[in-house]
C-alpha cells in the first residue's frame, strides 16, 4: 500500500481511538518514550499491559468465585487493575473499574459480577483495537524504510 496512505490511515485510526474515548493522554506520554534508543517501547509496554491484565483478571475472577467473597481482596485486585489501565490511558476500562469498586465497597456481589463483565468487555475491545493499530504502525514503519 502507498506509504502516505498508510500513514494517513494510522493517523486516522489513532484519532478515532482518542475521539471515541478508548485512549487518553497517558498513552501519548508512553508514545513519547519511544525513540531510537527504545525503538519498540510502545509494543513492549502494551504487551506487558496484556500480560499484567490477564493475571489481574484471573485474580479478580477467582476472588469473585470464592465463597464467602473477600471484598477487601477483591478491591485490592481491582485497584491494581485500575492503576495499570489508567497508566496506559485506557479510559473506558478505567471508568468501568471505578464502577466495579463502588459495588465492591458496598459489598454488592451481583453488582460486582455485572460490572466485571463490562470491565472484561471494554478490555477485550481495547486490546483488539490496539493490536490492529500497532500492526498498522509497524506496517507504516516498514514501508518508510523500504
Amino acid at each position: 500500500m502507498d506509504r502516505n496512505r498508510l500513514q494517513h490511515q494510522v493517523a486516522c485510526m489513532r484519532r478515532s481511538l482518542f475521539d471515541q474515548g478508548y485512549l487518553d493522554e497517558p498513552f501519548i506520554q508512553l508514545e513519547e518514550l519511544q525513540d531510537d534508543a527504545n525503538p519498540n517501547f510502545v509494543q513492549e509496554i502494551v504487551t506487558l499491559f496484556y500480560t499484567n491484565s490477564a493475571r489481574l483478571i484471573q485474580n479478580i475472577e477467582h476472588a469473585l468465585n470464592s465463597r464467602p467473597i473477600d471484598f477487601n481482596k477483591l478491591d485490592d485486585h481491582m485497584h491494581q487493575f485500575k492503576g495499570s489501565s489508567s497508566s496506559i490511558g485506557a479510559k473506558k476500562v478505567t471508568n468501568e473499574c471505578t464502577v466495579f469498586r463502588d459495588y465492591c465497597s458496598a459489598e454488592n456481589a451481583e453488582g460486582c459480577s455485572r460490572s466485571f463483565q463490562q470491565v472484561k468487555q471494554e478490555y477485550a475491545i481495547l486490546r483488539r483495537k490496539l493490536e490492529v493499530y500497532l500492526q498498522m504502525v509497524r506496517q507504516a514503519a516498514v514501508s518508510q524504510t523500504a
Binding site: 482518542f18 509496554i45 492503576g83
Partner: protein, 158 residues
C-alpha cells in the same frame, strides 16, 4: 528505525475530541543540570516500567523494586536517592509502613506517593506516614517535572 507515531504537530490537525489545541507538558521538556537519582517502589511491574520510563525520559537515573521490604533493605544498605516514588499498595510490606520505615531511617529525600485512586482518608494517611506529595496513577509530567526542577535547583544553589 523506531515506528514513528503522529507527532505533537499532528495534533494541531487532529485535536483530541475537538478540544482546543494547547501546548502539552512533556517528560522531555525538562533538561536537568545535575545528576538526580530516583527509586520507584511499585508492585505492579507494568506500572513500575511506566514510572521508570518517565523518570528516565526526564534524565533521572532510576532504579525500581517491586515490594516495600526490598526498598527498606536498599536504603538500609546505604543507597541514596533524590526522589522516591512509592505505591500505596505494595506486597509484603505496604506503602504506608514502608514510608514510615524509610523516614525512620533518617531519609529526608522527596517522596511521592502514588495510587490508582486516593480517598481523602488514604491520602491523609500517606502524607502522615511521610510522603511529601500524592499523585494518582499515572505520574503526570505536570506533577513530576516541577518536583524535578526543584530538586535540580537545590543542587545548583549549593
Amino acid at each position: 528505525m523506531a515506528p514513528a507515531f503522529p507527532s505533537g504537530d499532528d495534533w494541531t490537525n487532529f485535536g483530541i475530541g475537538g478540544r482546543p489545541n494547547y501546548k502539552r507538558f512533556s517528560f522531555r521538556d525538562i533538561v536537568l543540570r545535575n545528576r538526580l537519582t530516583a527509586l520507584v517502589v511499585d508492585g505492579v511491574n507494568f506500572c513500575r516500567m511506566v514510572e521508570e520510563g518517565f523518570l528516565r525520559a526526564c534524565g533521572v537515573e532510576t532504579q525500581g523494586v517491586d515490594n516495600g521490604d526490598a526498598a527498606v533493605e536498599l536504603i538500609a544498605s546505604g543507597a541514596k536517592f533524590d526522589l522516591i516514588v512509592i505505591d500505596m499498595y505494595l506486597p509484603i510490606l505496604d506503602g504506608l509502613e514502608t514510608t514510615r520505615r524509610i523516614r525512620a531511617m533518617g531519609t529526608r529525600c522527596k517522596m511521592v506517593g502514588v495510587s490508582a485512586s486516593f480517598s481523602e482518608r488514604d491520602g491523609q494517611a500517606f502524607l502522615a506516614a511521610g510522603v511529601d506529595a500524592l499523585s494518582e496513577k499515572p505520574l503526570s509530567p505536570e506533577i513530576l517535572v516541577p518536583i524535578l526542577r526543584e530538586l535540580d535547583g537545590q543542587y545548583s544553589s549549593i
